[in-house]
């Protein structure tokens, strides 16, 4: 079995896994990192959204081999210790979540968007594909704008 090393939320990890094993299952089933959620397995619902070298990815369609030697950040690694990332804080302030299942992915998508575009327009926010079946979209929009304003 091949082995892959990468930086996970700031800490080096090494896993033995088939090359084509999606990062999502490496995280969840091998490393017990359960923040990224399965919602479709085909990169469509984006509940698993995380970061690879700081950019948004859907770990359900990224093979572990592609992560070797790189930096993987999941929702668990977004905060700085007990200090929440501004997007997480905005999510709390706006009380965005309902069931919460898609929210790690929503937050990671929003954080990636703000990294690219510090003041996203409504059209930018509209391009976020992450599904929220509870329909929290209005609060997501509000929280992104709040996080953007607090910069």
């Amino acid at each position: 079995m091949p082995s892959y090393s990468f930086l996970l939320n700031g800490k080096p990890v090494t896993v033995e896994a088939p090359a084509d094993m999606p990062l999502l299952w490496v995280l969840r089933d091998l490393l017990d990192v359960t923040g990224p959620k399965y919602g479709c397995g085909v990169g469509v619902c984006r509940a698993c959204t995380s970061h690879l070298d700081g950019a948004e990815i859907q770990p359900c369609v990224v093979p572990v081999a592609d992560c070797a030697g790189r930096k993987v950040t999941t929702i668990e690694g977004l905060a700085d210790g007990d200090t929440l990332h501004p997007v997480q804080q905005a999510w709390l302030d706006c009380d965005v979540a309902q069931c919460g299942f898609c929210q790690p992915g929503q937050i990671m998508a929003a954080a990636a968007l703000l990294k690219k575009t510090s003041s996203p327009t409504d059209a930018d926010i509209d391009r976020i594909e992450n599904v929220c079946r509870c329909g929290t979209y209005s609060r997501i929009r509000e929280a992104i704008k709040k996080a953007s304003a607090q910069g």
């Binding site: 089933d29 397995g41 299942f101 391009r127």
Partner: protein, 710 residues
């Protein structure tokens, strides 16, 4: 629909324990708030009967020595915010800090009311939870009075502490042991009057919000159960298809595969990871027999539904008719968390972890499926990643139990998204024929005939069907159509329903029949207004019976600037709904310049639910129902092609995404001192009706088949 719950009196008991532990019985059923005595709580007579052990039917509050207030909740949290609402009720009456209150979910009980559904949770818990906490507070105050040798009446409570006039404080945790021995509290055990509420009614952030935003919230698939192996099931291409033969040699030869098990729904694979399980599933060579509906597609279902609608009858002489026929497609619940269940079935006992709205029924069904007495089956209820009615049924839990039994090991079964959308459950498709007859500018009769698909199997069994039928069918068309509640002053109101029996996995979908029936009715109301040359809001104002409904309508009309001039292709729409002892109005603005790509740009809702325990939570529920209305009316549904569901993920089941959600949303909560009504499902028909009416006005069309773009 629901049986009446008497809330006149709650006995509150003290349980024999070394820490303060009080219990209040729960009614055996949820109920709409209608008819409930508004001052019910005030006349209760708490008792100090000592009960040994924990009575299963009770809501139990414990104050721990570590100063935590713990109430094990016999309901499930699926995003609706019930844990936060109950924590607020407890914090209010106990004068505890919200952060000191823990609301874990109770495992399946042997008796009592452990049903989450019908928007009944707050209604059913509001009395008992407050009585419970008020009694606990009285005992804590009495214990402090004895410790300090002060009159109990001089003591105050705040922030999970008792406070003496001289400023001394004692945490509840430090008093819990002595409070447990208090037989007769020296201060009142009555809940506060509404006017003194400081927590209830205040917009409050979810108690689990931080866990959610940091990824710590645990769902069934995140629960660590020793040795529980990832498990998936190969399912047939058609609904109800059966395995004819399976060649599992290639699958078994793959690395990391522990077991391949044939079950009623297909072939299960137990493996080291979900990656290995999916790979092995795909390596199975299965010959399938088509399911019982293989000859049936949407057109056939639609024509059978149309034929099953009871006749409208002859209209009254001398009246003019406004009629409409409406069709609604099947809709997936598609909660973000697919069905997931961890099961550990042994020869003499079983233990399961999953999210369930009906854990007691689930436990009994699982016990019978695996051949164990119910007393040997433990069901741990986990938080759910959405439900919308889907977790009334426990298909996956029964499967997981059977797989665990056959594989002789604990398993973590997960349905794939394909499984979830292709194999149900779904909101049944329905057909509605509505006629309003008017004369002299007034509606004199209103008739609504409908038919929907009912779930029916030749050979019924828990393994085949995998879920409750009682709860679902009991909450479906059993009663009169919602229009019979007399929402409008429409003269003679009548209705009836027919059904088409099909072997399809169906389920109650948020707001159940109202989501289709009332939506269709609100469209007809707009068309009647048009036929009479009246404005939709003005017409409703003159024909609605209830002041409360008129008030929410007025609220959205004024705050939503009803009647403002809009460019061509854009329009406003409005609708109202009344149910669960609550009412709601919704105003929508839509841009349908491209009728194939309409965008709801603005949604304004107003709700009167009686006392809104957490207004922010209620606004969130209304926001969700707006997304449901947009989705089901404009774009999200399921096609049936030759006995199979065509859609298979969120790529083709078009539930609303950010680009479909309103750019502006606001929800107004009407002030009220009435006891809480239901709220979780309330907004769906109003939102759906308003979206449809806005679309009709923007496009000059009469929408009849939903979703419109499908």
């Amino acid at each position: 629909m629901a049986r009446q719950l008497s809330r006149r009196r709650f006995m509150v008991y003290t349980l024999a324990a070394s820490t303060l532990t009080v219990a209040a019985p729960l009614g055996c059923d949820g109920s709409s708030a209608e008819g409930v005595e508004p001052t019910a709580a005030g006349v209760s007579t708490p008792s100090d009967v000592l009960v040994t052990g924990t009575d299963e039917e009770m809501l139990v509050l414990e104050v721990t020595a570590a100063n935590r207030v713990v109430v094990r909740l016999p309901r499930v949290e699926v995003g609706q915010g019930i844990t936060t609402a109950v924590a607020m009720m407890i914090a209010e009456e106990l004068d505890a800090r919200l952060a000191d209150v823990d609301i874990p979910l109770a495992e399946a009980r042997k008796k009592g009311n452990q049903y989450t559904g019908g928007s009944s949770s707050v209604t059913s818990l509001y009395g008992p939870a407050r009585e419970l906490a008020a009694t606990a507070r009285a005992k804590l105050v009495t214990a402090a009075a004895r410790r300090w040798h002060l009159p109990a009446g001089q003591l105050r409570t705040r922030d999970t502490m008792v406070i003496a006039p001289d400023g001394r404080t004692a945490t509840f945790g430090s008093l819990t042991e002595s409070a447990a021995r208090i037989q007769h509290p020296a201060v009142s055990t009555k809940p506060k009057p509404t006017s003194e509420h400081r927590v209830i009614g205040r917009p409050t952030t979810r108690i689990d919000a931080r866990d959610i935003v940091t990824g710590r919230a645990k769902y069934a698939g995140d629960v660590a159960v020793a040795g529980a192996k990832p498990t998936v099931v190969a399912r047939p291409p058609t609904l109800g298809g059966k395995v004819v033969s399976v060649d599992d040699r290639a699958a078994r030869a793959l690395p990391g595969v522990h077991a391949v098990v044939r079950i009623a729904g297909g072939v299960a694979v137990v493996a080291d990871s979900f990656h290995h399980a999916f790979k092995a599933r795909d390596a199975l060579r299965i010959t399938w027999a088509p399911g019982p509906l293989a000859a049936l597609s949407d057109a056939g279902i639609r024509s059978r539904l149309r034929a099953a609608v009871p006749p409208l009858g002859t209209p009254l002489l001398g009246t003019r008719q406004v009629t409409g026929e409406f069709e609604f497609a099947f809709v997936s619940h598609a909660p973000m968390e697919v069905l997931t269940a961890v099961a550990d079935v042994r020869a003499d006992r079983a233990e399961l972890w999953f999210s369930s709205q009906t854990p007691m029924d689930a436990r009994d069904s699982i016990a019978s499926a695996v051949g164990l007495p119910a007393s040997k089956v433990r069901v741990h209820v986990t938080r759910g990643g959405g439900s919308f009615g889907r977790r009334l049924n426990f298909d996956a839990a029964i499967e997981a139990a059977l797989i665990s039994k056959a594989a002789h090991r604990p398993v973590k079964l997960m349905w794939s998204r394909n499984d979830d959308i292709r194999h149900g459950r779904m909101r049944p498709a329905s057909h509605h024929r509505i006629r309003a007859s008017h004369a002299g500018g007034r509606v004199v009769s209103f008739t609504h005939m409908m038919a929907s698909v009912n779930e029916s199997y030749e050979q019924e069994g828990p393994a085949a069907q995998g879920g409750v039928t009682g709860v679902v069918s009991g909450s479906r068309v059993a009663g009169p159509l919602p229009s019979d509640s007399g929402l409008y002053n429409f003269g003679r109101v009548s209705g009836d329903s027919g059904g088409v029996e099909l072997a399809m996995p169906l389920g109650a979908w948020r707001s159940v029949d109202s989501g289709t029936s009332r939506t269709a009715e609100e469209i007809v109301v707009d068309e009647v207004a048009g036929s009479l040359g009246e404005d939709p809001v003005a017409f409703r104002r003159t024909t609605l019976r209830s002041k409360r409904v008129k008030a929410v309508l007025d609220k959205v009309a004024s705050t939503g600037n009803w009647g403002r001039t809009m460019p061509a292709g854009q329009a406003q729409g409005v609708a109202v709904h009344e149910e669960y002892g609550s009412c709601v109005a919704c105003l929508v603005e839509i841009d349908a310049t491209d009728p194939k790509k309409p965008r709801v740009t603005k949604v304004v809702m107003a709700a009167d639910v009686g006392t809104a325990v957490n207004p922010r939570g209620l606004q969130a529920q209304l926001m969700g129902t707006a997304a449901d209305g947009i989705s089901t009316v404009l774009q999200a549904g399921l096609h049936i092609d030759r006995g199979a569901v065509r859609e298979g993920s969120f790529a083709d089941f078009h539930y609303a995404r950010q680009r479909h959600a309103p750019l502006h949303f606001e929800a107004h909560i009407m002030p009220s001192r009435r006891d809480p009504g239901g709220a979780g499902e309330l907004g769906v028909p109003a939102a759906a009706g308003a979206v449809a009416n806005a679309y009709a006005r923007a496009t000059g069309t009469r929408p009849r088949r939903f979703p419109i773009n499908f």
